[in-house]
Subunit: 479 residues, 2 copies
């Protein structure tokens, strides 16, 4: 077995996604092809969130991708935040355009302009909408799924009568993100508030769910923003309130993206390659005939019956009856992260059983063919739960709460480096100033992830200034 | 009742989609906002096609939107066909790009490049993939849903060992388009082959399904292309065949787009506004309490039970318990095309019945509350069938097969104009030359729609040259 994941996590990641046939590069910088096996993960993510959004009464819509330059200039912080990363359309149909058009990095400006038209009275509020779309951010460093020039995401945008209702929506979506990312992707996340310097460009408050990868680095897995009346002011989103006055709406936005695919790979993958939570795996079960199965037609026939029964029960299954050796097949489907493998040969036929190998644990188990569909469904459900527990344990081993000073942090990082270990997530006290945050970043490369709602420990003094801590904050290296 | 649909179809169309709250304009030329009620139609279309694609073993993927200019120049006909309509990204992140990047008008070039990498052996074939995506064509004249600068579509791309297999896929997808457009959207279509001048840029053969709008004009509702080995040659899609030789693959592509939304509106809408086939309506049923219902709480309570029962049965239903008058509500939901309206008041409560009004037929019917869910489901299914039949009848009334010469065609068009009628679809003989096709277009504004597989009449002589007809072809004005 290789030690690549431990020794060179980046190399392991690229090798894993290539071997699992998840993506390919395009000649356009930082743009990737989502091949069927990764796109199907995204489709399962979409299904899950669409269900939740629908329960909340939030409907999908689609807004134009091209945004006139003038829209961006309306909200000062927003243009400052995004302009360094925008690609621009400057010509079309053989002629230069009068105004440059940006490829959307996010749709606040387009949707704000629409909301201004559509919202007239308190009766129109809350106005709550979601969009699934491609977005563009021309970043310097790119990494498949985690940071690409074009990516896919959902962006929700809502307008409300007052701050309380807008904040309730902001927090509710964060909750839905946490529940779905933990339930569907088996990735445990920390919910909390971003520090001012890490806020979304133009937001009053930004909240996030943060996940720890196997190399200890952080991925911001979802964000939810309370905009106050800043965008309403910039885009003139006013409504007639119950007292017959024209007042500004309070708006929110929130999103998750295809970086969730990357996070899933980095949280669950192992030295054998991809490990996929059953809930999102394109194929949940692979059936492999073993032994001299070609001489005994009942073997394949029995697997075909099992395949049909599993499909009828809603299980995503395939039979590998190719000419490759069983060993080759086992390796192939492990690389691709298929959660459950069934092996079935002449001896199993005689014993009315199959051998089952779960992707995430060692060893095989003989399971009776009586009630096999239910046994497999249970095994998949157990694996889904187990992956989350395993990820939680792994995360816990790389959470550090004992660090009080910047020197201790540097020492921790250096010690872990020497041990060939990850420095992980470090919970520290912070005096709440941009200056101390900047010092941490410059001296250690760690950034604030979020101020957790329920910190496992309350820190009393700021790690940099030694002053009374205003917040307890997670620090980590981040993707 | 207004006569707007009859007198000014374009004005009727725009009024209908605005009143039904389906779309809004964006400040960017020809780009529209798909509001929730139109986007949900698109979602139902996606669901239906995804099911069919899955049955065919075709998987979804996602390819980058930005296409390097050099990709386009590889297939001569393709670049000639698309270059007049391309928008270009020329700068990103504050710097000019070395090579211009087109916003995809279609993905043949991107996917061809990928196929060249991915396909090595006959064992990889057929390679069949579909993509749901936004695409861009900077057209001079735009019309919401039917012709927009940015639109949504699916594009399937497949590669095959030989011509037979590629042609089979081409025709199979056309069949699936016909079945789905007729079954789901209740729009009857003519299947046939496009003439060479109307072929997709770079295709060997293009097939289409063509629909007739209520104004007699045509909408090309879906297309399927056999590319031969032209794209394989341009993009070097070669594979090792069963005889161990490197040979070119045969490719296909096929697509339908959000113009299906526009076609649905133009085929079924009437003077009262939108009429939606139940299969794709965001709301299939609206429940309206009538009479002094606010004084009798059982009325609304009973409707809430009905709503719950309908939802449990998978029916998309809403209750309109707003303060608006029943007449206002009736009008509102008719404008929005809700297929079935239930009225329920004190007298109905006493009689254990509801009044049901179907959107597409006059008059209301009393229906017993016993078995009401099944009654409603049956009524919706009947309406779905009826809409297709009505559209077929309407189409039949505007099919003309008696025209033998160009003068007769001109006369027909002029007569219909004077009668305030549409000239509809005209089936004519054609000698198969580009020249005669061009003359028809110049002199009448009619274009060839397709050469139907099963023409209702075989035409013997060419409408222009009087020579022996090589094909019988549909002519019409087209969107
Ligand atoms: Zn460790
Ligand atoms: Zn007529």
């Amino acid at each position: 077995m290789s030690n690549l994941q431990k020794e060179d996590f980046s190399a392991w990641y690229i090798q894993t996604i290539k071997q699992a046939d998840l993506m390919d590069y395009s000649p356009v910088r930082g743009c990737i092809i989502f091949k069927p096996d990764s796109y199907e993960i995204w489709e399962h993510i979409q299904e899950a969130f669409n269900l939740r959004f629908k329960e909340e009464g939030i409907r999908n819509a689609y807004f134009p991708m091209l945004i006139p330059e003038s829209f961006f200039t309306k909200e000062k912080d927003h243009i400052e935040g995004f302009s360094p990363e925008l690609p621009w359309v400057t010509e079309a149909a053989g002629e230069p355009l009068e105004e440059r058009l940006a490829l959307r990095p996010t749709s606040e400006t387009m949707i704000g302009t629409a909301f201004s038209d559509w919202i007239n009275s308190y009766r129109d509020l809350p106005y709550e909408i979601n969009q699934w779309a491609n977005v563009f951010r021309w970043e310097k460093k790119t990494l498949p799924f985690l940071r690409t020039s074009e990516f896919l995401w959902q962006e929700g945008h809502t307008a409300h009568e007052d701050e309380a209702s807008a904040r309730e929506r902001t927090m509710r979506m964060l909750e839905i993100y946490k529940e779905t990312i933990e339930g569907l992707l088996a990735i445990p996340v920390y919910s909390g508030q971003k520090t001012p310097s890490e806020r979304f460009a133009g937001a009053v408050d930004t909240y996030s769910v943060e996940a720890m990868m196997k190399d200890g680095k952080a991925v911001q897995a979802g964000t939810s923003h309370y905009m106050g009346t800043k965008f309403a002011e910039a885009f003139d989103i006013k409504y007639l309130n119950r007292d017959n006055e024209h007042v500004l709406a309070h708006t929110t936005s929130w999103g998750v993206s295809t970086r969730l695919i990357g996070a899933t790979i980095m949280v669950h993958g192992d030295e054998q390659g991809l490990v996929l939570p059953p809930a999102i795996a394109a194929k949940q079960v692979v059936l492999v005939p073993v032994g001299p199965w070609k001489k005994k037609t009942e073997i394949l026939e029995r697997l075909e019956v099992l395949s049909k029964d599993l499909k009828a029960a809603g299980v995503r299954v395939l039979i590998d009856d190719s000419d490759n050796s069983p060993g080759y097949k086992f390796n192939e489907w492990e690389l691709r992260g298929v959660p459950l493998r069934v092996e079935f040969g002449p001896r199993d036929l005689t014993n009315n059983q199959v051998m089952i190998k779960m992707r995430d644990i060692e060893g095989k188990e003989a399971v009776s063919l009586d009630g096999i569909v239910e046994s497999i469904q249970t095994a998949l459900a157990d694996m889904q739960t187990r992956l989350l527990e395993t990820a939680r344990k792994n995360r816990q081993q790389h959470e550090y709460t004992h660090i009080e000073t910047l020197d201790e942090l540097k020492e921790h990082i250096e010690n872990k480096r020497q041990e060939g270990e990850t420095p992980g997530f470090v919970l520290v006290g912070w005096d709440g100033t941009d200056e101390t945050e900047e010092i941490i970043k410059e001296e250690t490369g760690f950034t604030t992830r979020n101020i957790p709602f329920d910190p496992i420990v309350e820190k009393k003094t700021c790690i940099v200034s030694g002053k009374l801590a205003k917040h307890t904050v997670w620090l980590a290296r981040a993707y």
